[in-house]
Symmetry: C2
């Protein structure tokens, strides 16, 4: 696709400049963008209003409209997010593990930008600014391909970036928005190996799987979360109720929300009625196995599919298990390797769970809702990786970098 090849070429060109800017230069851009976003709020909101109007005609509703909608407050939030990125330490240039080899070679591992980062995302216009901000801070050119429903909003935000970059006398092509929002442009991006160093899909399971299956560009798989809470036989009832309730209801539409409850059979009689009552009060539908349904009056029977579901809604599956080992096996079989938590007061059970569960984040006595770049102290997040290569779990600035070995010699040969 012609547009994408053009974008790719420009991106490579812009990367030659951006990759070598110092921290002050990058922070200056970000600060200027933050200020301009606030002062240009009205034009961004206008573009957003058009998107929303067209969306209404296209029949968009509910959560999508909610995610698409901007407001003065949200724009201020986006600007604040960029100011937070300014405050974060610049990971670029750090040299790790520098050592002198026996032959006198001095070898160090220098942190450098990836180069050109592609992101395919759906309806949230704030992703445009978040990704562009994180990429600029890490010296990466970004190629953004947002959803068509947010096209005007995204464009308005990118215009602000361009204005700020130009005011700094730099190459505005460091931030590029793909203008073609067809399915074909997404597919073309997945084959753009000559220009993209990495491709990150952000959105629903359908988008992510399409990218994983079709991309020849290296992909970081993000986000799908079928997260479990396992209530061990040595669980504290109060903690169990509070954590299950929080993990399910605090923000059910996000990937680190709990989707499945496992309870040890020896304590199911004590735990499930209380947990069930709390969830019912929170408006949660419970899909249970036989025992769960017996112990929770409002529960409906679960089908085999329920164990794999990411509901992203006020629904949770519930299963009674015979042992800690069975719980871990169930999680490793049905989970999406995102976030998993055990509620227990037993030391060995906690250690076993931490060791054996295969996931990006494994918790003892805490809500899965903490799997998040901000909560982990990274100050920012470009996504949550559920794959094992390059990055796992919340991806902050460091995950947008790679390394190169730099070697100081004095004439060494082999």
């Amino acid at each position: 696709m012609k547009e994408l090849i053009e974008i790719g070429k420009k991106a490579k060109e812009a990367s030659k400049q951006l990759a070598h800017l110092n921290t002050d230069q990058k922070n200056k851009i970000l600060t200027l963008v933050a200020n301009l976003l606030e002062s240009s709020a009205s034009s961004i909101l206008e573009a957003n209003a058009t998107d929303l109007k067209l969306g209404e005609k296209m029949g968009l509703k509910g959560a999508i409209v909610e995610r698409l909608t901007l407001s003065e407050d949200r724009i201020r939030g986006i600007a604040e997010g960029l100011r937070e990125i300014v405050k974060l330490e610049d990971p670029i240039g750090e040299i790790q593990e520098m050592k002198q080899r026996p032959n006198g070679l001095l070898i160090g591992k220098k942190r450098v930008p990836l180069g050109v980062v592609g992101v395919i995302y759906e309806s949230r216009p704030n992703v445009t600014a978040d990704v562009a901000g994180l990429c600029i801070k890490t010296g990466n050119v970004c190629v953004l391909r947002g959803g068509k429903e947010a096209f005007r909003s995204n464009n308005a935000i990118v215009q602000v970036f361009h204005q700020a970059i130009k005011e700094c006398g730099l190459d505005h092509r460091m931030v590029q928005l793909v203008q073609d929002t067809s399915r074909e442009s997404a597919m073309a991006m997945m084959k753009l190996n000559a220009y993209l160093d990495i491709l990150i899909p952000r959105g629903g399971a359908g988008l992510i799987q399409a990218v994983v299956q079709n991309s020849t560009v290296p992909v970081i798989e993000t986000g799908v979360g079928n997260c479990h809470i396992y209530v061990d036989k040595a669980a504290d009832l109060k903690k169990a109720v509070a954590i299950v309730y929080n993990a399910k209801t605090h923000r059910p539409g996000v990937c680190n929300a709990a989707e499945s409850l496992l309870v040890h059979e020896q304590v199911a009689g004590e735990m499930l009625p209380s947990i069930g009552a709390a969830l019912a009060e929170g408006g949660v539908e419970i899909r249970g196995d036989k025992t769960s349904c017996k112990l929770i009056p409002d529960a409906v029977p679960a089908s085999e599919e329920d164990w794999s579901m990411e509901y992203l809604d006020l629904v949770i599956s519930s299963k009674v298990v015979g042992s800690l080992e069975e719980a871990v096996d169930h999680i490793n079989s049905y989970g999406s390797k995102h976030s998993e938590s055990i509620i227990t007061e037993n030391y060995s059970h906690a250690q076993y769970f931490l060791e054996r569960v295969d996931a990006a984040a494994v918790y003892v006595n805490a809500s899965t809702r903490f799997t998040d770049g901000f909560e982990f102290g990274y100050g920012a997040e470009i996504g949550i990786s559920t794959q094992k290569l390059h990055a796992r779990g919340p991806m902050g600035l460091k995950e947008l970098t790679t390394s190169k070995y730099i070697i100081y010699g004095s004439g060494q040969i082999r």
Copy 2:
């Protein structure tokens, strides 16, 4: 493909045990394998002789036969390699950056095995033992798909692993050799996302590109090296001659050998005749641009394709450039991002080259031949990554691991 799905299932099963073995248990296997390889040398050599005989009928010759051939000495070398792996520190279990968050959560990043590592390789049977050894040490199950010309040799080596693993009372399925060596089995491996966590191709450019283009399993691209030596205008003649000669002739068939020479025009008259004479003495064919051909009597004219060639042979391309910047641009355009070296006594030129050249390893005043896990002090190597994701440059034990966040809570909710 049925065989691969079966292998995948067994691999996942074996991973449940291997991933949680402690260092002593893993070292015990490796030591036993090393001893058994030496005591079973005759049966391995017998299998290898059959491979060689069949290879002769198939018309194999030269370098391939050389790579395929085992001897008592080579087997001892393989066993010694495994004993070296025993001595290396086990990276698994290390917990990095453990910190207490303001809410009391204790968050750490634990180093864990990737899970199941697939490797597709060509004719060298020693790769079988090297990869299996590195994978066992890092708690990874390996699925090995070697070339058909080495099938009997590979099988004999894998039998020794199985014997040792069984003698340790452990699951021998932690090392698996694909029995079908057809093109189809390689293709099927590239789609085995359900069972493989990573796929590493080791071999020529054709194999590597086939894997990059077709694999839906995350790939680590290895090995192709179009490495340059840039002789700066501030170069020391003696160092330049020695380093170019070494980088080209020390072992021309490997990926970190130099394939292209760039010389600053201001010193070409001084440098090229001496470098050319040394290379000619080493039997190297020089393919030069106009100026190079003028200055080196034996040089033949280069075509545009020569700038991109990985000869893997006693051939080198030579080009005279007008500036340091032109040299860097040429390298970033035609290089394979493997290893690049500048010869200079000028501080700023050295720093510019280190900063601007985009490659896994960038050298000042040293031969590119040092890009190697052993030379870098990692004690072992599973390949040299030329991609930017997950690993870049020589991949040792750490590059065969991933992380998981472990979080100790005391009832935290959001």
